[in-house]
């Protein structure tokens, strides 16, 4: 199980990355944390001619405040995001979700931006990005652009990133007033989810829902914002009847796909169960102060 031969470049600037990507096109692959790419090489599922190792590009690993929000550099390791007090204060759903991402050694190397760019449908970070209303910063040869997470994840391992672009950061707006929920069902600790739910909500002084971002992952071809189901909760308290209605409505937003593990119907069932649990267990007060 040795990787096929390839060449290796270790650019130190984004300009060099863009030049390499322009020169090698589809034959080049960006190597960030490598925790997903390296197994595909070992399994000889992919055989790029060139790996472009972006790990040494300075400044891409920072986790910093941005207004009342946050900017997480693409090369921030999962372990660093998990340990960050800033993340815990401003985006606590990440701190809750990250222990489910792989295992200790995977989190030492795996990167936040890599997980976003890969867009595994069962991964936790893209789902949290949707719940957090994140924006993905992309740097192309001709300049940068910012894409809302809701427009970034397009399908199975498919994103809005152009071949010449590099994910450089993820921006999170202020989460003031939000409370969060996260739950997943996995066969084993650290596995990709059979089904998972990430949610953020704002409630008014009367505990009525003013905003609900409900994300279902591990069910469809990508993490999906279940907007029509979530809309059923607007203006209502999250009592048992409302929660049941939201969960029941999930089918309108999520097109589950069968996996070796379970048929589509079972995956949707799990998502509904988890939705009910997540909404039923939302914190009673906002987690991020206004």
């Amino acid at each position: 199980m040795k990787a096929p031969a390839f060449d290796y470049a270790r650019p130190e600037t984004l300009e060099e990355v863009h030049a390499l990507l322009a020169e090698h096109g589809d034959d080049a692959r960006i190597l960030a944390g490598g925790q997903s790419l390296m197994p595909t090489l070992a399994l000889r599922l992919s055989g790029p001619a060139l790996l472009v190792d972006v790990n040494r590009i300075p400044g891409l690993g920072a986790i910093e405040a941005r207004g009342d929000g946050l900017q997480i550099g693409a090369l921030a390791r999962h372990a660093a995001v998990l340990a960050s007090p800033l993340v815990a204060a401003r985006a606590p759903v990440l701190t809750r979700a990250l222990p489910h991402v792989g295992h200790v050694a995977i989190r030492s190397r795996g990167t936040f931006g890599g997980s976003i760019a890969l867009a595994d449908p069962a991964a936790e970070i893209p789902a949290c990005a949707l719940a957090l209303e994140a924006e993905v910063v992309l740097e192309g040869a001709d300049g940068s652009r910012v894409v809302p997470a809701a427009d970034f994840f397009l399908g199975l391992y498919e994103t809005a990133r152009e071949p010449d672009e590099v994910v450089t950061a993820v921006r999170l707006p202020s989460q003031a007033g939000r409370r969060f929920g996260f739950a997943e069902l996995a066969r084993r600790h650290g596995d990709f989810a059979l089904a998972g739910i990430a949610a953020s909500a704002r409630l008014d002084h009367d505990d009525r829902v003013t905003e609900l971002r409900l994300v279902c992952f591990g069910c469809a071809d990508r993490a999906v914002l279940a907007d029509s189901a979530a809309a059923r909760a607007l203006g209502r308290r999250l009592d048992a009847a409302t929660i049941a209605e939201v969960a029941a409505g999930l089918g309108a937003d999520v097109e589950p796909i069968p996996s070796p593990e379970a048929d589509a119907e079972t995956r949707l069932h799990w998502a509904r169960v988890l939705t009910a649990r997540v909404l039923g267990a939302l914190p009673t007060t906002p987690e991020v102060d206004a």
């Binding site: 040795k2 000889r44 066969r187 084993r188 600790h189 059979l194 070796p260 079972t266």
Partner: protein
Amino acid sequence: MSGPQSAGPIGRGLPRRETERLVRGRGRYGDDIVLPRMLHAAFVRSPHAHARIEHIEATAAAASTGVVRVLTGADIAAVCKPWVSKAENRATHRSGVQHAMPADRVVWQGEPVAVVLARSRAEAEDAAELVEVEWGPLPVVAEAAQALAADAPVIHPELGDNLAFEHHQVQGDVDAAFAAADRVIERRLRFGRQTAMTLEPRVVVADYDPAAEHLTVWHSHQSPYQMQDVFSRLLGIPEHRVRVVTPDVGGAFGAKINVYPDEMSAVAASVLLGRPVKFCADRLESFVSDIHSRDHEVVARIALDADGDVLAIDVDDLVSLGAFTPYMRFSISEALMVAMWTAAPYRMGAYRARGRVAYVNKPPVGMFRGVGMPVACAAGELLIDDAARALGEDPAAYRRRLYIADDAYPTRTASGMAVERMTLVRCLDALLEVSDYARLRAEQARLRERGVYRGIGLATVIEPSAFGPAYYGPTGARISVQDGSTVKLEPSGVVRCVTSVTDQGQGTLTGLAQIVASQLGVEPEAVEVVAGDSAVTPYGGGAWASRGMAIGGQATLDAAAALRANVLALAAGVLQTRAEALDLGDGQVRDAATGEARIALAEVARLAYFRQDLLPPGVQPELAVTRHFVPKGSLYYLSNGIQLCHLELDPETGAVRLLGHWAAEDCGRIVNRLLVDEQVRGGIAQGLAAAFWEHCRYDAEGQLLNASLADYLVPTACDLPDIAVTHVETPLADTTLGAKGVGEAGTIGAIGAAWTAVNDALAALGAVATEQPFTPASLLRALRER
């Protein structure tokens, strides 16, 4: 022959000696061995489960960087004979011819058809990708029921059909019993395929020296003696010029007792090229080339009378074996064990079992911890549980009522198997006490009112271990059921034990040191154990069937006792006294009556080796003694026990959380409690792994759907519970050591205990699980189908 001397070192929970080295990174495993001019082998394997090999084009591969040679089936056949794995005494066992590498037809996905030998594994893999094989796909049979259908494609045409083996076990009139029954319960049960997944894959490093006509093989294997014999016969090298060394082995569990065609090919390649060849299976090829286990479908019925006594049990077992009955142990015991041992702990009127083993286009099911017994255990325990539930009886109380009584031995099981002794009731009592069964049941009832579904499952375990000459002898297979040890006093008074017992982590060698120490009155640290070299040690069987301590321990005890007698006789001559007046202790020859030190062991050794001039005339010191031991009276040594699995079912998701597991075990004399407990725990872990996670999933085309460690789910530290082990210690009467096997009991019982626990939780919801592994999806299905 004397028994163990006092408590002494026997029974002490000493740490395993090899662990000191292993945790410091000082292990030396097969892949760590590097020889000059060594080549690396990478195999080209069939992507088809059944296909003709029309043509192999290896020109490009042969020209690839670093490649020295590409060999195909015909090349290997020039130096390696094919084999037939046939049990001569089993008329209904039929077996096809197996080649190290087939030249014309493959019969499972993953069967090797060519091997690249290159300077590095990476280069060998590069070239293996360039080998072009033209395949002629053939119809596939992936399941036993399909394989036995009249129009099924036949995997071994010379056999006429796909029935590999059939066995009937009948006692009494089962049909009459069922006709007269007050109540009949029937279950159809599916047992999935598991694979051993030794963390260290299979490794062989072969070094054939054409000048000396001598073959040395470092082999990650359980029996260097067996492989010496196999290499010698199949490669035509005189046996005294074949040396097989087993270095540190990174897990075996039965998987590394089998003979593997790719390993044979790698060794044959070394003979052909006259250069060292290393083959280290990678994880992907392990999944399609290691032996698998189980893959049974069982229909089991129980007939009860109005009082709830068992009138009869009727079992029909069908095994999807794979493309061969693997060399050299046939795997017919998969079905034999089920036929012989299902519901064996229980009294009943009549018993009938039919076991059938079918050839299918999958890798062979071979030896893996428990061999058939986990199926026998689960099938029987599920019937007993169902009966208890139908009768409204507590499953523990119902078992106690039906058990063969502890004072009823020797006896025979309802299936007719001889039993020297079991302690079923005592083990049940011990288990109920340590698990606080009454409290668990009360808590279960309390929580159920709150919508929490906990399950408590019991499984009585029988482990036939240390099979004796009557089992393998008549099969004609060259499998040695005896073991031997040489115990030698070194000149400085320390001791070496050179043994045919092998150790892949069990700790058996530490136990042997304790036995030797007990006989010679030295600390176990003063005994070094040497093992795993067919050129050096006495000939033996190696590690299989949980026999190391029961058989090898007895051989070692006998050798040490004989050395002890020699030492005492020698000391008596020197001291001008009688040997009977002397004893050994703390490295001294002592006065048996007073305990007074008379002469140091080291001094006896010094005199014997260097100052024979001081010895009485005519005395010939013999300070190295070899003894072999073979079980005489019994077909097997039976260990017994019982397990309890405690879990919580989430009925909305089908997820199960394991809360705790308990085992009570009687494996006879315990030489080292720490190591025995860990054997039980490790065995249970592998059984729970099969029960809930591990499953080689095949499609109808014989394709393995989850052939990576990302998709084949081995439980992690988060998934398994703490496991409490307690013992009832009833020394075996057959031997002076009194030890029985313990290595497989955990696995044998865990699947059954997990299954009865899952059913216990599901029962409150009116559902039942009929196939393992129990996954969230499969349990939701069970709940939907209620």
